[in-house]
């Protein structure tokens, strides 16, 4: 139980902006108008979807060629358990589809009832999204085409606005595991205890514990050591302007390296109950904890660090940080 490693979901997402350049921009512009383009390669063949540089000769490519909206499946596989963000919620086929007029296949989804309805060589036609915006998702997928469907390329309207950039949001979902040493530390946090780990060779005490000493390159002692919630400010930063990514932090605020009494290495903490102008290197501080009924297994239990009013720590060597002199392998 006590050794159990904690886990938590971690989601990272961001809407990246891609500048397309003329080739990819032209392809996306075509999609918005209901026309699929390939690009003519150095050997005269047509590659769809297009690339800016020839995969065989590396030559720059520029001539976009409209291809059909019907094509032939060259190979496929069945996707029985679609995931979120895939083109279809029901099971579907992933297929390589060579559109009429193109010489290379593109990967896309084919919507059929079962794998029995799929075959190499089958004819499929594009399904467009109702409202197209010039994005690869304008193509919803493909369905089986009746033999008579030709899917001739539509004419590209003239004087349309070219797509020059697109938003491509990403979202990644992880299960975060802080590891054994950090899990113990987080559990103790719930009881307002701060644990560090100790290097068997140098005596270096690190907070938060890492399970390994970065000085000796060895595992730390299995028993974590208790540290007081007091220490000093080794150095600090005052952020004076709002940081867009951190709306939760109101400037001006102090972020300081805190070295706990008995610890050898500092960590970053928020200065509290002190004017930024009054913060000093060497200032003695103590933790400001959340109210007891709000404590959880999290380093967020410590809201920040406030001055104790004790005399400042005397720092003699401003280059070296931490308290290596406390070590020595005792």
């Amino acid at each position: 139980m006590a050794d159990e490693v904690l886990t938590a979901p971690l989601v990272l997402e961001y809407p990246f902006t891609r500048t397309t350049g003329p080739v990819i921009g032209g392809f996306l512009t075509g999609l918005r108008e209901g026309v699929i383009h390939g690009v003519r390669r150095s050997d005269g063949t047509v590659m769809c979807p297009p690339l800016e540089y020839d995969p065989i000769t590396a030559a720059p490519l520029s001539e976009l060629v409209a291809v059909g909206t019907v094509g032939t499946v060259t190979t496929w596989t069945w996707n029985g358990e679609p995931r979120a963000q895939q083109p279809f919620t029901q099971p579907f086929a992933w297929a390589m589809i060579t559109l009429d007029g193109a010489d290379t296949p593109m990967l896309h989804a084919v919507f059929v009832d079962s794998a029995d309805d799929m075959a190499t060589g089958m004819r499929v036609e594009v399904v467009w999204r109702d409202e197209r915006e010039g994005h690869i998702t304008d193509i919803v997928g493909f369905i089986s085409a009746v033999a008579s469907t030709t899917g001739e390329p539509a004419a590209m309207p003239s004087d349309v606005e070219q797509i020059q950039s697109v938003r491509t949001p990403i979202r990644m979902e992880y299960t975060y595991t802080p590891g054994r040493a950090l899990s113990q530390y987080l559990r103790a946090m719930k009881d307002k205890r701060i644990l560090g780990d100790k290097c068997p060779e140098t005596g270096e005490v690190s907070v938060p514990p890492r399970g390994v000493s970065s000085v000796a390159g060895k595992p730390t002692l299995p028993e974590l050591v208790d540290l007081p919630d007091t220490g000093y400010i080794e150095s600090f930063n005052i952020t004076r302007v709002p940081i867009k990514m951190r709306p939760d932090l109101t400037p001006p605020y102090v972020s300081a390296w805190i070295v706990l009494d008995g610890a050898s290495v500092g960590f970053m903490g928020l200065g509290m109950n002190v004017e930024p102008e009054d913060v000093r290197v060497g200032m003695r501080v103590r933790a400001v904890w959340k109210p007891d009924d709000e404590l959880e297994m999290s380093a967020q239990n410590i809201l920040g660090w406030e001055p104790t009013g004790e005399p400042d720590e005397v720092i003699t060597d401003y280059a070296r940080v931490g308290r290596l002199e406390q070590g020595g392998g005792q």
Partner: protein
């Protein structure tokens, strides 16, 4: 173990700017084409491509080396990606050089890039983490306490950083590729620019840039046959260390000093300040110039800021001009920034640095650092073999 000699034959850059108007592939192609043009080489002459960029989250393109191979003419050839955070442009050039020094290849194209307009490095450097508390926001908040320690340690005058910022922005006016061109910028404006990460002012920080820098490297045989100036590579070195441990010297990390000692020993440099004619060092926040001057052994400990104060690092009369290109303070396509330092050092000894040429430069240094000041890459280049 004996090494083959290697030399820079060509350097290619794009105009650094807030947004490069084309695609990422097009941007790299432009830099590579410019480097090939200077080197007199064609795509067919290149044996391998070594590329480097900063963390994937900076642009959200995973495995860019796959997507960009054909843009770099790398069809049927080896391609390899290097990654050491912000120093990556420098380490990539080192890895590419070692491909020639080892005798594996004769001619290598190396390239670094960043397209900051497609993402937000501040976001990528401030990713949330469960259970943890974070007060960090971007690189400035991390480096500001280290700069504060340097200021306390050396008792340097408060405005040394502003002097560096103004000098690099003035240098940038002579570099057509530089992102920031601020001809009317005054010292007072730098001083009065808002404090962001106190003690770092807005004008003492680097911009967010799009851009790519490429270098064509050749073996001794290839360089001897080259019709034009080359920069002989006299030494390459890389070092790293953990970002946090007891007793760490944050101001002048041991890895930084070891990297410098190694590269200068290889190049046979004894009096660093005297024997080096131009330095391109990685200075994303102005105070890092005096800090690196000391760490790299151009100044005694505690004396780096005096070189700034005396104007020793200015191209206008200084004996050790630093960042004549305008440096990272004037252009920061992160993954390219190290390569630009290396490429600009080469251009100086090739005599091809244009309006920011140091007269008669024979020996120059390129320098890059990254992560929590924990990755280092350097090279020394010379006009003579």
């Amino acid at each position: 173990m004996g090494k083959e000699r290697a030399a820079v034959l060509g350097v290619g850059q794009t105009k650094y700017d807030t947004t490069y108007p084309g695609s990422m592939a097009g941007m790299l192609r432009e830099a590579a084409t410019n480097a090939l043009e200077m080197s007199g080489k064609g795509w067919d002459d290149i044996d391998a491509v070594i590329m480097g960029k900063a963390p994937d989250f900076f642009e959200g393109v995973m495995m860019p080396e796959v997507y960009l191979a054909e843009a770099l003419g790398c069809v049927g050839k080896p391609i390899m990606r290097v990654h050491t955070a912000g120093s990556v442009g420098g380490s990539t050039a080192c890895v590419a050089t070692s491909m020639i020094q080892s005798g594996v290849h004769e001619t290598v194209l190396t390239i670094g890039w960043e397209k900051q307009s497609e993402s937000n490095a501040m976001w990528a450097l401030s990713l949330p983490q469960p259970f943890a508390t974070s007060v960090n926001a971007g690189a400035g908040g991390y480096f500001s306490p280290i700069i504060r320690r340097y200021m306390m340690m050396t008792e340097a005058p408060e405005l040394i950083g502003c002097m560096v910022a103004l000098k690099d922005r003035k240098h940038a006016l002579n570099n057509p590729y530089a992102h920031l061109h601020q001809p009317d910028l005054t010292f007072e404006q730098v001083v009065e620019s808002p404090m962001l990460w106190d003690p770092i002012r807005y004008s003492e920080t680097c911009p967010s840039s799009d851009g790519a820098c490429a270098i064509v490297l050749g073996s001794e045989k290839v360089a001897e046959a080259h019709d034009g100036p080359v920069a002989w590579i006299k030494g390459i070195a890389m070092r790293s260390e953990s970002g946090s441990f007891a007793g760490r010297n944050m101001v002048s990390p041991a890895a930084s000093e070891a990297c410098a000692d190694d590269v200068f020993a290889q190049a046979g440099i004894h009096d660093r300040r005297k024997e080096i004619d131009a330095v391109e060092m990685y200075v994303p926040f102005s105070w890092y110039e005096p800090m690196w001057l000391e760490s790299l052994g151009f100044a005694e400990k505690g004396q780096g800021w005096k070189m700034v104060e005396e104007g020793a690092t200015s191209i206008d009369g200084g004996d050790l001009p630093v960042n004549c290109s305008g440096g990272v303070l004037s252009s920061n396509p992160i993954g390219a920034s190290g390569m630009i330092r290396f490429g600009e050092a080469a251009l100086q000894v090739m005599g091809l640095a244009g309006d920011h040429q140091v007269d008669g430069a024979k020996t120059a240094v390129g320098h890059a650092y990254g992560g929590a000041a924990q990755y280092y890459a350097m090279w020394v280049v010379g006009a003579d073999k």
